[in-house]
Symmetry: C2
Subunit: 166 residues, 2 copies
């Protein structure tokens, strides 16, 4: 158990109806995602609710009391033997800088390894605005494997990080 | 219109129930895809049949008489402004070496550009067995943008090609 300014943090892998709104709120509040990206983040929760684990989307929520402080969404990459994608990881600004992201990423990695995964991929933008995001992965043992120039938009490339786990 | 050994080739973007089996047959016959990959290829057709264009999967079939000689599956990449993925392109061995793949990839690119796409990404294996696949993309103006080592499996990396279109 870990404490934040607002109390104890609990990790939860079960996904409920209310998490659609929670994911919307967290991702929008970070101001790191466009509206269409917030929509995609919420759709993955819907997909998980509709199809269960067969959706391929695993979630981890870090709850601080009644609030979701942050969450991670990850899953096996189709057509790979043991590669996983960390699709989303986001911490609500009210809870940033308190180790929530580290707790989420480490538990996600543990669960990936438990499912037989050996590599976790995570992607983010190459833009200057995402320097703190890239520094977060760097500091947690992820290395830059590739950069796809102009992938997201002209001048906005995709940086692909990877970490071996298990 | 283009001719093959078995007659005229017709390109078709409409997807029908029979295409689930056609895609299974084509992908399995190439011997380039594992059973789980053939499953995924067929699932994308099902997804398209179930959800229409909202699935995000666009198809092109090259029909030679009553047979599907090959097909391509492509679509916009979520959270990007104008990047598209060429998810699948495969030509039945009976029709290889007759320009079917070129016809499919060029028409896919034309349709991507028509939808406002500017970049087409395609991924394949780094293994020696896929040298001909990589040469196919190379020869059609795709350049290697990145290689993710061990992505598909140990010793089996992912090569990411990209071509600007439109």
């Amino acid at each position: 158990m870990q404490r934040t300014d607002r109390g104890e943090l609990r990790l939860r892998a079960e996904v409920g109806r209310a998490d659609v709104a929670a994911v919307r709120e967290i991702t929008a509040a970070t101001r790191f995602f466009r509206a269409d990206e917030v929509d995609v983040a919420a759709e993955l929760v819907e997909e998980r609710l509709a199809r269960g684990e067969a959706s391929g989307y695993h979630f981890l929520f870090a709850d601080a009391g009644a609030s979701a402080a942050g969450y991670a969404c990850f899953g096996p990459i189709a057509c790979t033997v043991s590669s996983f994608d960390l699709y989303w990881i986001a911490v609500h600004p009210s809870f940033q800088g308190q180790g929530v992201g580290t707790l989420l990423i480490r538990e996600a990695e543990r669960r990936v390894a438990e499912m037989g995964g050996t590599r976790v991929y995570v992607e983010t933008s190459s833009k200057a605005a995402y320097a703190s995001t890239r520094a977060f992965y760097d500091a947690r043992g992820y290395r830059t494997e590739a950069v796809l120039e102009d992938f997201y938009a002209p001048g906005d490339g995709k940086v692909i990080f990877v970490r071996q786990v298990g």
